[in-house]
């Protein structure tokens, strides 16, 4: 083994120098160094930016979103504390379904809570026609309520009943279609007295309404792709009935005795 070591040590090894290559490589390395230097000079500037980004997001959320939620909660509290709204909640089971903020005002939409219903089951369902006395006006024949809360004054500025004709008005052709559908229905002739007369035909409010911002206004809008329905109100001998017709399907979906006149 020692002999081998001696042999290896004695062998002349190549000692080659390549000055052109050395210089060319040095040039390339220095260029690369400059590129990397630029990258790493930017890095310390980016680092605080990256660190502060989440903080900035939290601040934006804090400034924009959290106060919004806080305002909405406050508006709801003010509205629910109003005696008129409290009465509606208790008697007609209305629940807040949408809220929008605009110009220091909160628009709150209250709709009756959905309950399972039996088609053609004649019942006295008062919730379909709200008749509530208020200080300023009487809420009549409504299915929903829009409360506007003044956030600066911290009070309920107004309570408006939502009428179908304002949200989903009926055309004369649609009214005609309603009449045709009910006339064809044999079951109605069996249930309703022959003396009934049509009191009025009005659009039925979709069960799920929503608030929509249009410019600076807040409007009540029907849900997208909803099926338009109309109510036809009958009266006879001091009694009233309501028949609901699906205009898309051209059929009766509901018949209700809605109380005495």
């Amino acid at each position: 083994m020692e002999e081998l070591k001696k042999k290896i040590n004695q062998i002349e090894k190549p000692e080659i120098e390549l000055p052109y290559f050395k210089a060319a490589l040095k040039g390339r390395l220095l260029k690369e160094h400059q590129k990397m230097e630029k990258r790493f000079l930017i890095a310390p500037l980016l680092k605080p930016a990256l660190v502060s980004l989440p903080i900035l997001i939290i601040l934006i959320l804090g400034v924009l979103i959290l106060p919004q939620q806080f305002m909405e909660a406050r508006a709801l509290k003010i509205a629910k504390a109003h005696p008129e709204i409290q009465k509606l909640i208790q008697e007609y089971n209305i629940r807040p379904t949408d809220i929008k903020l605009q110009d220091q005002k909160a628009y709150l939409l209250f709709m009756p809570e959905e309950t399972p219903e039996n088609i053609l089951e004649v019942e006295n369902q008062k919730r379909m026609l709200l008749e509530i006395a208020s200080e300023k006006e009487t809420l009549k024949k409504s299915e929903g309520v829009l409360a506007i809360v003044d956030l600066q004054r911290k009070n309920v500025a107004s309570i408006k009943t939502i009428r179908g004709r304002e949200v989903v008005p009926l055309t004369s052709q649609e009214e005609q279609l309603v009449k045709e559908v009910v006339e064809k229905e044999e079951v109605l002739k069996e249930i309703l007295p022959p003396t009934i007369t049509i009191e009025k035909i009005e659009p039925a409010l979709p069960e799920k309404l929503r608030l929509e911002k249009k410019g600076t206004e807040i409007q009540i809008a029907p849900p997208k792709n909803f099926e338009k329905r109309a109510k036809i109100l009958y009266k006879s001998d001091g009694k009233r009935w309501m028949v609901e017709v699906n205009l898309q399907k051209k059929k009766i979906e509901k018949l209700q005795l809605i109380g005495n006149q």
């Binding site: 083994m1 081998l4 070591k5 290896i8 040590n9 062998i11 002349e12 090894k13 190549p14 000692e15 080659i16 120098e17 390549l18 000055p19 052109y20 290559f21 050395k22 060319a24 490589l25 040095k26 390339r28 390395l29 220095l30 690369e32 160094h33 400059q34 990397m36 230097e37 790493f40």
Partner: protein
């Protein structure tokens, strides 16, 4: 160079191209020589040297002092580059000058390679020995080259390869034993 001086040098080289240039000037020839003696091919040695220094430059920014000298660190990168080349090639094969031409566009460099190759071919004894060394496992080629061609101490090789001195001694011993066997086989054939 003292450890403290080297540490400072690396720190400065991260920001200052000139300092990096100083490191390059100091270590280019030993690293190129080492790779050349590992590969016995000028064009390939050039490529692997370039890769070694480029890798060193890229890792310089992440370089953390771990009591490894710059020299040992560069030898380690060079060793990894050479061994990685061997692994990919599944055994050493000469790289033709044509292949080297694709990598280098400077006419002076090309002429230089050609002349260097001619010079290398004169080192007949070395080339014969290298042929036998090249048949060893890369780890044995590494320790033989570092110990007998580069004249590194066992402690230095241990630092370069990041292994205990005892392991290096054992590897050198095994490498020599295998090399001896190969040379004896050659003599028997002749």
């Amino acid at each position: 160079m003292s450890g403290e001086f080297e540490r400072d040098l690396v720190k400065r080289a991260k920001k200052d191209p000139e300092t990096f240039g100083l490191i390059y000037d100091k270590y280019y020839q030993p690293i190129f020589g080492y790779i050349l003696r590992r590969t016995a091919n000028v064009a390939l040695a050039e490529d692997l040297t370039a890769q070694t220094f480029l890798k060193a430059l890229k890792n310089l920014w992440r370089f953390r002092w771990q009591n490894v000298t710059i020299s040992a660190w560069l030898y380690r990168i060079a060793t990894n580059e050479v061994n990685s080349y061997y692994r990919k090639k599944k055994g050493f094969k000469n790289v033709s000058l044509e292949e080297a031409k694709n990598l280098k566009s400077d006419i002076n460099v090309l002429e230089e390679i050609q002349k260097a190759e001619e010079e290398l071919q004169k080192e007949k004894d070395f080339l014969l020995l290298h042929k036998k060394i090249a048949k060893l496992k890369p780890k044995y080629q590494t320790v033989i080259t570092l110990r007998f061609f580069e004249k590194k101490k066992v402690s230095e090789i241990a630092q370069i390869l990041g292994k205990p001195e005892g392991t290096i001694k054992a590897q050198i011993h095994r490498a020599l034993r295998q090399l001896k066997k190969l040379l004896e086989e050659n003599e028997t054939k002749n």
